[in-house]
Symmetry: C2
Subunit: 698 residues, 2 copies
């Protein structure tokens, strides 16, 4: 059976499914909000967290408004070409698309924070009734974020193309999403680790008071950090990847369609992305915890449901609409490899597997051995993902190559779309983590009893395990997306080259020293970028530790926990906020300027190498840092649960050092690299025309 449908139909269907996702999001929001909550202490702490998160978001968005306004003006003047030389409408559309991208991402982040700071309270209180209701509040809270982020990305991409009919505007939209993600992820990452590290350092290490103890002035900031870093930041990150993968696929799909006089390839992108969202909606809405009470199983089994639904529905659509089966294969391979990368990440971080056991054992000899063994396993963990991404790209390319010129790279972009198809489910799982982490804190601070604490502990631990998988997945998806963006980059460059009457680019030869220079410099950016962020956390944490010390010294009775001795939580939140914003700007600008400098020196060829080097080293460092961090976190928990000497043993002290090192690795630097890669690729694609017209050696 073959249906001939217009591209518009697919676009309208995409809008409809995006709206459906918003509907699901609203329903879930209401469901969570309607859950009972009565404990006043928890409500008060919850209010503090919420207001702290809003403080951060408010200040961050203020800084971003300034940054994005400047960027928008630069785009208006220079992109896609100098405004005085080209079509003014193009530049206006580009600038508006860019702003559109930032606003969509900002709204999605805001929604996420808003629900997360409700769901944490609900999940905490539900923990007194049992694991199932507590899980459902946490999961459905996360799902609100998942549905709105993916709904917004699909809606945004569809509207931009419908309204402008220009793929270049898609890159503008994507760049808007990226620049917001860069700041949200890096800024949130610095905030959350500043607070986490300082709270632990003074509370657990110096004073020996438990985690989440309300006497600790940094405890609210710590809980705020989970929200702004993991919920808002991670949401912005995956919004960005998702938009970028669709944009890359559409740039190439539309180019193919133009060349062949069809609309089939663009239609396919919309169709697959919409089906991915639909599958995620189904996965999210049917998620339940079984009677075995295992939150990990509940989270994972629904991810698999989503994968299967996606595979089946896209096959059906491919049959119905006469799409190319080769592309369906490419897309499915992408999804499968994403799952495999996730499983590999899980192996290196799971506390039932060898790496955690070995690191725990090495910890007995001292913290240096925790670091050395953890670093080693973290480095090893990069191999499966690198091989997986390489093979999926190769397979997608080779399968689609026979379809004709241009299809090979399009196949890679569709593998990325396939990998990201279940992103709605992934975000839901990921946002679940910080919500139940917060819930655990609230249970502690609200004195809800040991049973509730045990329940939230078990939910939190599942969150950590799933987080490792979803992070691996997010990194893999970013990798494949950026390879696809490299294809989009060439597409755009050649479009410009035709206009300028310059020779077309056919590729980037490693033997060309311009390409090689780009490769070397591009590869150096992720380590430098992550170093800048980590030093930022370091500096910021030092400021905050000083403040905590001050409070314990100056507020009478705080250390002893006397009635009425309340810490100044706000001061800590303020320090973390201001510091985070101050530290993230240089790192972000460094990445952007490095791209521009390489472009102006070496031209398009150097930029091609630069992007490739950036992807390769970015993937390695992102994987290494995320996995090593997760490994250390779980090693600490593993030792705390009684292994290798248990709590307060020598191994435990070493494991705590490992965890402290791992925190900025896994929650600040590692995941921010993802966004850094996308930003660099998009800056390169957008400014390609300029480098084509002018560069020192190119």
């Amino acid at each position: 059976m073959i249906l001939q449908l217009d591209l518009n139909i697919f676009q309208i269907a995409s809008v409809a499914i995006a709206v459906l996702a918003f509907g699901a999001s609203i329903w879930l929001y209401r469901w969570v909000a309607s859950q009972p909550s009565s404990n006043k202490r928890i409500a008060e702490v919850g209010r503090l967290i919420r207001s702290g998160a809003n403080t951060f978001l408010g200040k961050e968005y203020k800084v971003l408004t300034r940054f994005c306004s400047v960027a928008a003006i630069l785009i208006l003047v220079f992109l896609p070409g100098p405004i005085w030389k080209g079509n003014i409408l193009d530049n206006v559309q580009m600038a508006v698309a860019y702003l559109f991208g930032t606003v969509f991402s900002a709204i999605a982040g805001k929604v996420g924070i808003s629900i997360a700071t409700i769901a944490n309270i609900k999940s905490a209180e539900a923990a007194t009734k049992g694991i199932k209701p507590s899980f459902m509040s946490g999961f459905r809270g996360g799902a609100v974020m998942g549905m709105s982020v993916v709904g917004a990305s699909l809606l945004g991409v569809t509207l931009v193309l419908l309204l402008t009919n220009k793929t270049m505007a898609l890159l503008g939209f994507s760049f808007g999403a990226s620049s917001l993600a860069l700041f949200a992820k890096a800024g949130g990452g610095i905030f959350t680790k500043t607070a986490d590290v300082s709270a632990d350092l003074v509370g657990k290490v110096e004073l020996g008071i438990p985690e989440d103890d309300p006497r600790n002035p940094a405890v609210i900031a710590d809980n705020v950090g989970d929200n702004v870093g993991d919920v808002a930041g991670m949401g912005a990150d995956l919004f960005d990847s998702n938009v970028a993968s669709m944009a890359a696929a559409l740039v190439m799909g539309v180019a193919l369609d133009r060349a062949n006089g069809t609309t089939m390839n663009a239609a396919m992108v919309f169709c697959y992305a919409a089906i991915g969202l639909l599958a995620s909606i189904i996965g999210v809405m049917t998620a339940r915890m079984r009677d075995d009470g295992s939150p990990t199983k509940a989270l994972n089994s629904n991810t698999y449901v989503t994968c299967v639904v996606f595979g089946v529905l896209t096959a059906l659509a491919t049959y119905l609409f006469n799409f190319k089966w080769q592309i369906w294969f490419a897309s499915t391979i992408g999804l499968a490899v994403g799952v495999i990368i996730g499983i590999a990440s899980d192996y290196f971080t799971d506390d039932t597997k060898k790496p955690v056991h070995e690191v725990a054992k090495a910890s007995k000899s001292g913290p240096a051995f925790t670091i050395l063994s953890g670093t080693s396993y973290g480095l090893m963990s990069t191999l499966p993902a690198m091989v997986g991404i390489g093979i999926s790209a190769l397979a997608a390319y080779k399968i689609c190559e026979p379809l004709g010129p241009g299809y090979a790279m399009f196949g890679i972009s569709m593998a990325a779309v396939g990998m990201l198809s279940i992103v709605g489910m992934i975000i839901s799982n990921d946002a679940y983590g910080p919500i139940v982490d917060n819930a655990r804190g609230l249970v502690e601070m609200g004195n809800l009893g040991d049973e509730a604490l045990e329940i939230t502990d078990s939910l939190d631990s599942a969150g950590n395990t799933v987080k490792a998988i979803t992070k691996g997945f997010a990194i893999g998806a970013a990798g494949l997306t950026v390879i696809a963006l490299l294809g989009a980059f060439i597409s755009e460059v050649n479009h410009a080259a035709e206009i300028l009457g310059k020779p077309l680019i056919t590729g980037f030869d490693i033997i060309d020293p311009l390409v090689f220079l780009g490769l070397l410099v591009g590869a150096a950016i992720p380590p430098v970028f992550s170093a800048m962020l980590m030093l930022g956390v370091d500096r910021n944490a030092q400021r905050m530790v000083a403040e905590i010390h001050r409070q314990f010294k100056e507020i009478v009775g705080l250390k002893e926990g006397k009635e009425g001795a309340v810490p100044e939580y706000d001061r800590c939140i303020e320090i973390a906020t201001i510091g985070a914003l101050k530290e993230l700007v240089p790192a972000g600008l460094m990445a952007i300027f490095a791209t521009l400098i390489v472009g102006f020196i070496g031209g398009v060829q150097a930029i091609g190498g630069f992007i490739a080097g950036n992807i390769v080293s970015g993937l390695i460092f992102a994987l290494f840092m995320s996995n090593a961090g997760g490994l250390w976190d779980n090693t600490k928990k593993y030792v705390e649960s009684g292994h290798e000497g248990g709590k307060n043993s020598a191994a435990h002290k070493s494991a705590v050092v490992g965890d402290t090192v791992g925190d900025p690795f896994k929650d600040t630097a590692g995941p921010s690299i993802n966004t850094q890669i996308t930003v660099v690729s998009l800056v390169a694609s957008l400014t390609a025309t300029i480098f084509l017209a002018f560069s020192l050696f190119g």
Copy 2:
């Protein structure tokens, strides 16, 4: 003035200068040996170190004999082509050249160990007379190694080409040097860090006895380690780089000469390499310590003398023999960039500069912050070198490109030759480090008094500073060399392609998914390789710590230092030796097999990407690990000298953790990556013909 000389004259001159270097080496050896020594205790400890080093070397060479024999047989059967298909003589020559390379490298290592274990005694005893004689014994001891390594490499390369007249045989010779270097560097690196870490862990940390205390059963092994790791290993490493750079330049130079009917380019390679050695001889023989008594200045100023002599003499030769000035420029740029990279490494590790001060400050908050800040600066330190290598390659390429086809890549290879021209001086400086480090231990064990200890401390500290510079230099040189090897790889592939009637390779396009797959997998090898080595150190140290514990428990009176209670030093040396050899083999084979697997799957294109990815990520990890390790080492010393609380403060405890993490970084994993890169490039070049004839997707 223009002299027309035959290629043979240059080759004979090279042999003559190599012989001159051997003469210098013998003179220096005799000078060192003739220095007075009378202390019996020192003589006894010196004997123990010497015999321990010989034990290690003996066992290592036994393992290597087996490994290299197998490799030689495989080469005989398969390379350059299957023996049943090609010319038997080719295969025999290749196998013999390979064995030749391994033997030359082994002899140079043996000579180095032999003099280092004499010079340490002489330098220790001379310390009672003043800093100048002590310095001279240490430096001239190192210079014996420097002169013999570079003499051997020049002699070997010249003889191989003279006897076979085949550039392919040069790659075989180079591969021999590489396979020995891989094992010498990695094996020695595992040995030295096993001993160092275990000695510190039990001695300094657990029992609180000073470094180099003779009661510690690991103390001799620790001193042996300095010799086998830093002297023999590093010598093999630079022997390897030096041979590889000459081989790459000759492969391309001879190809150019054949195409143009001249012998000028090959002559130039010999001429420049010989002048480099001559400049190093002059630099070494004129090295003196000034009256200011600064060993760092003495070491550095002579490096600069060598650079200037090289620049002037090569300019003169270029004028005299009518060589191309563009190539002289390329070569000089290489040397200049090498020096710049060294200086950048120095900035990140010098204890008068900001990074060390910041890490020391952060250490006050605990070991996690030592690690985080040190990691960050280590990551940042990669940028200047990556940019420097990229720019020097670009400049060399662009300057030589107008000379005609093939000259551009030849220019890069000559930049590498230029960078490595002063390698004789570099090795001398580098080998000086472990000699005076040993001398310090001997002064301590022989109770030569505080003044002598202070002198050797100051010599040792200079050794550490210079080591950071020479390591940066060695990594930069390896980077440029391997880029040149990529050129040699293409040369060889196309030579084979012509014979097989296959299309010629013009380059490696990043957009080709085979190249990209290679890029991703190649980039993952250095992290995995270094992780395997570090885990090896970890496992080995655990075994050794258990042995030290056993001895302190079972040998009565050892802990208290009773007369007659002597530890079993031999057992520790044995454990370190056996463990090191056991741990290094899998890592080395992993790198080689990964190359072969990628080649058989993706063919020549995938291998091109694989080499590039391997270079890029290898450089980053080598720089990161070497510099972070050096930074932590100097931070510890900086704190110990009274900053941030001084010895036994919280900052000091943290700094010790940093140093322990840094040790395997800087002495095992980091510098071994150099060799890993060269091995991979050479395996790829040698097996290129096979992949051309058969591969799954290529």
